[in-house]
Amino acid sequence: MAEIQEYWRWTEYSWHHPEMDWRQGKRIAAGIDVGSVSSQALVLVDGQIFAFSNLRTGSNSPDSANNAIKTALKDTGMEIKDLQYTVGTGYGRVNVPFANRAITEIACHARGANFMAGPKVRTVLDMGGQDCKAIHCDERGKVTNFLMNDKCAAGTGRGMEVMADLLSIPIKDIGDLSFQVDEEPQPVSSTCVVFAKSEALGLMRSGWSKNMVLAAYCSAMAHRVSLLLGRIGVEDQFFITGGIAKNPGIVKRLEQELGIQAVKSQHDSQIAGALGAGLFADTLLQKGAQ
């Protein structure tokens, strides 16, 4: 089992501001995003990003939340008791032991995207581990229209992991390899990941290279996501959050299909939810929340 699972692994890390003295800060707000696959903790001091971490979610949400915040606060001298207000979000949001409030990840992603990519962002796509969200928001990052699909693995990070396992290719290489083909193949015809797996095996048997299969799978996924986005309407500017934003095999094909470029941000696309939660915590602090 172990060597099969390695293919979907990605790197965990944490970051904190090298110069900021948090003890001078008036407001210390935190956002914790406990997703189905990854967990992030992020701390804002007076509305500025002070520290964050990006880890894999363990089998239990409270432990994952504790791990994430401890990793983020490592070597900063800050402790959980110093957090004045904490908002939990994501799949495990109600199980964050030190959170003051839980807010849905839809609202948090829109708010986070607004901070990361600027107030001109109107369309946010979040492709998470087990869901896919299409969000339309206003200039303040307030949600105006959204839909989420968390019922079906097609179009989620999990669907990509299944393909990585099947073809024995590390998940981070999928995007680049999918462009190493002589010509772009037709997308796989099956929507369902289970059926796509048998289709992929059939294509390999009939002589397709792994890269061709990846290209066909990435373009099918991009097409599926573009249909989902179509339901809420894609309006410039467009921003992608979540782990899949790191897969150019999907992003470039999606941009082509939509005829619109996604805004690039200096921030890690996976922290959008935690950042949004932290920003809500900060706003609530300013409003005098206890």
Binding site: C152, A153, V162, V193, F195
Partner: protein, 241 residues
Amino acid sequence: MIKAGIDVGAKTIKVVLMEDGKIRGKGKVLSGFDQEESAKEALEQALMEAQLSREAIGIIVTTGNGRKAISYATDDVTEARAAALGAVFLYPSARTVIDVGAEEARAIKCDSSGKVLDFAVNEKCAAGSGAFTEAMARALEVPLEELGPLSLRSTQTIPMNAQCTVFAESEVVSLIHSKTQKADIAVRRVGLEPELVLIGGVAHNPGFVESFKRTAELDNVRTAEDPEFVGAIGAALAAGE
């Protein structure tokens, strides 16, 4: 005259030989890579059982998703038509037929002659198809045949969050619960008629049948004997028309 019905399914190929409304022989092999070759093999099995030679067959009608792939077939009929004909032949009072195969589920409403009045199908999603139970059997590390009996031994019903087969695989380890909803909805879409027959390979799974009865709130659910052969029987019957 001997009539052959071949059901070229996603996972297996079933052959039934019929003469004067009686079943003479049956054959079943995995579809494999070459459906035409596999169909030949299944046909030979059935001929062996019936102690007949290839020349005795007067007409061959195919059905199933690979029904166009068999070059030596005389004709082909849709899966819904074959399922309704076969079910009404076996159970003359059947008016609703639920067919859950390896990669699709369909509900069919028919009249006393086996004519299709309405049908709904799900073939795009592995939830509610045989592929789901196969994946669950793999995740639980139990043979497919034991999954159903095993589920009947459970003492409580734990609803599963995941509908998707892929998500369910990660969720299932502590849960044993048969999937019924897709078939259930297909039934509601076509409307419930009193006599209901379950066909297709998944009808072999008693856990599914039990769970289906409960969800559909129906007692008079019949499971066809040899449920996976009903489509092939229907195809052979269609040959007479």
